[in-house]
């Protein structure tokens, strides 16, 4: 019998502020424990939270990018639970009237179709501290540096139908958060975290009981954890059991999810409006001020690349995965005047070498201007595309500019017809058998001669000239 998977994601994105959401403590990552936790972050009696303006602006920024409603009046609530890394005994969050509601994002499916994923809401809240369970002889160590770091919790509709769609949505949102500068999206440091609500049902039936999987901090884990959870739920139902609504933790080492029993009461958070914070008012002028600073969004950029540079949808989507790559491409395309050539190089040699070196484009040793210089040498026939790749590798290794390397290594392409003719004459003389076969109709042998001639010229013969002369001589 067939089952349909239903997935909704809750994504926590840390916001790129210097100070915390309700206090003037630093949010810098990696400081000595508790050196960035002041009286407000420690939940001392008598302190008052004061809302960070930048956190509000960044929430509006994301809201506009997902075409959502920005609440003219938004309120903060207390979410009550006890855990030592949340010293107040509650988390300041939003419940009724979140700052962002009713947005959406379009994801690309594997078959090339587009699917719209609804985004129910995005609300501001404070992060908790960290608990360290090892090395303290039966006690737990608490670091409150992260407590009070601003988060935007982005809640999707249960619109995804398999793990791949969930990954596509998460990746797209991750790219958007970084594009907008809303957060750094660093998943290793926990700046972008995901919980998944997963259930199964018969197609068309009502939603099944869902389990919430926590701790999904990589694109690889989320796909595996969801697939595992789906199997677990189907097994339970098919053997006559019932799925229990609960929170489960994904363990990447064992590749399984397990129940978090301590969260049994967790859904009873007894939210109420926080009396320490007044309602937040956002005027149309505030919204327009943020809108004016929005960069070109990934989807719009992709469309523009397809129109302005006549690129394929595939090339354009690769080039717009990150703002830095898109900027690099545009600089190269404009510099060399051939967008297709620039796209081939950025999506080809550049992205391959970056991947081989596990490097981001921000750290690329070959500047866009340096690459333009190399591409110009392809365009003016100084080097072939193949030789240019060797030159690029040398540029990457810091051996100098394209011209300097071509000059030093003697890589200049041979366009001199007589030199190429000499090479070809020699090859024809050396291979009478193949020549006879070719002339009797074995066209495929043409490639053999090209290969021999290229080898003899150390790859430096201009391919077009070579082909022309070879053809003439063979036709004889």
């Amino acid at each position: 019998m067939e089952w349909e998977t239903v997935i909704g994601l809750e994504i926590h994105a840390q916001l790129a502020t210097n100070s915390k959401i309700f206090s003037g403590s630093s949010t810098a990552y990696g400081a000595e424990p508790n050196t960035q936790a002041n009286l407000v972050d420690l939940g001392m009696p008598g302190v008052l939270p004061v809302l960070n303006k930048k956190a509000v602006e960044l929430a509006i920024r994301l809201g506009l990018a997902i075409d959502a409603d920005i609440a003219p009046r938004s309120i903060f609530a207390r979410k009550n639970y006890f855990y030592p890394d949340s010293p107040k005994g509650y988390q300041i969050s939003q419940y009724e009237l979140p700052i962002v509601a009713n947005g959406h994002m379009d994801i690309q499916l594997e078959n090339g179709d587009t699917k719209r994923i609804g985004i129910t809401r995005a609300h501001l809240e404070e992060d908790a501290g960290k608990s360290l369970h090892e090395d303290f002889q039966g006690q737990t160590g608490i670091d409150l540096n992260r407590a009070g770091t601003p988060l935007l919790e982005i809640v999707s509709e249960p619109d995804m139908r398999n793990a791949k769609e969930a990954v596509a949505y998460m990746k797209k949102l991750h790219a958007l958060v970084r594009y907008l500068g809303v957060g750094d999206g660093n998943m290793q440091e926990g700046s972008f975290r995901c919980d998944a609500n997963v259930s199964v049902r018969r197609p068309g039936a009502e939603f099944g009981t869902r389990a919430e999987i926590k701790n999904l901090n990589s694109f690889k884990f989320i796909e595996r954890a969801i697939n595992h959870e789906v199997e677990r739920q189907i097994d339970i139902i098919e053997s006559g059991g019932k799925v229990v609504q609960e929170t489960r933790l994904y363990d990447p080492d064992k590749d399984e999810t397990r129940s978090m029993r301590s969260k049994e009461d967790a859904n009873d958070y007894r939210y109420f409006p926080d009396p320490d914070l007044l309602p937040v008012e956002i005027t149309p002028a505030d919204i327009e001020a943020v809108r004016a600073t929005l960069p070109e969004l990934p989807d719009a950029k992709k469309q523009r690349f397809m129109v302005e540079y006549a690129l394929s949808a595939y090339d354009a989507s690769l080039l717009t995965l990150s703002r830095e790559v898109a900027d690099y491409f545009e600089a190269v395309a404009q510099g060399c005047g051939d967008a297709k050539l620039a796209a081939n190089w950025v999506n080809g040699e550049v992205s391959k070498t970056l991947a081989d070196n596990e490097m981001e484009i921000a750290a690329i040793p070959v500047s866009s201007a340096a690459l333009v210089e190399l591409l110009k040498r392809i365009q003016d026939n100084t080097v072939s595309n193949k030789i240019a790749r060797d030159v690029f590798a040398a540029m990457w290794n810091g051996e100098g500019s394209a011209d300097a390397i071509i000059d030093k290594k003697g890589l200049k392409q041979i366009t001199d017809t007589s030199a190429i003719e000499a090479v070809i004459d020699e090859i024809i003389a050396k291979n009478p058998g193949q020549v006879a076969e070719y002339r009797s109709g074995k066209d495929k042998l043409f490639g053999f001669f090209v290969g021999q001639a290229m080898k003899a010229s150390k790859g430096k013969a201009n391919p077009n000239t070579l082909n022309d002369i070879l053809k003439q001589k063979l036709e004889g």
Partner: protein, 95 residues
Amino acid sequence: MAISEAEVKKVARLARLAVPDERLAAYTQNLCNILDLVDQLSAVDTTGVEPMAHPLEMMQRLREDVVTETDHREKYQAVAPEVEDGLYLVPKVIE
């Protein structure tokens, strides 16, 4: 509106409050009285009235995003029951 003794126990557990068994009936009665009062308020027709989130008729003032705090860990940890390596120590909590 009535509230049961079981509900009182649950709310007490969530709030980490100890309610001795011999006081449970009295707590339940008192809470029922309070909820009855709220029920009387519920009788008022509030059609068209925006729910009040805060009694002050003011809007939240915002803070510029500037780090204003310096490290006072030593002072804060001097009053903590137990610390080690800069961490506050608490009874073990683990999933």
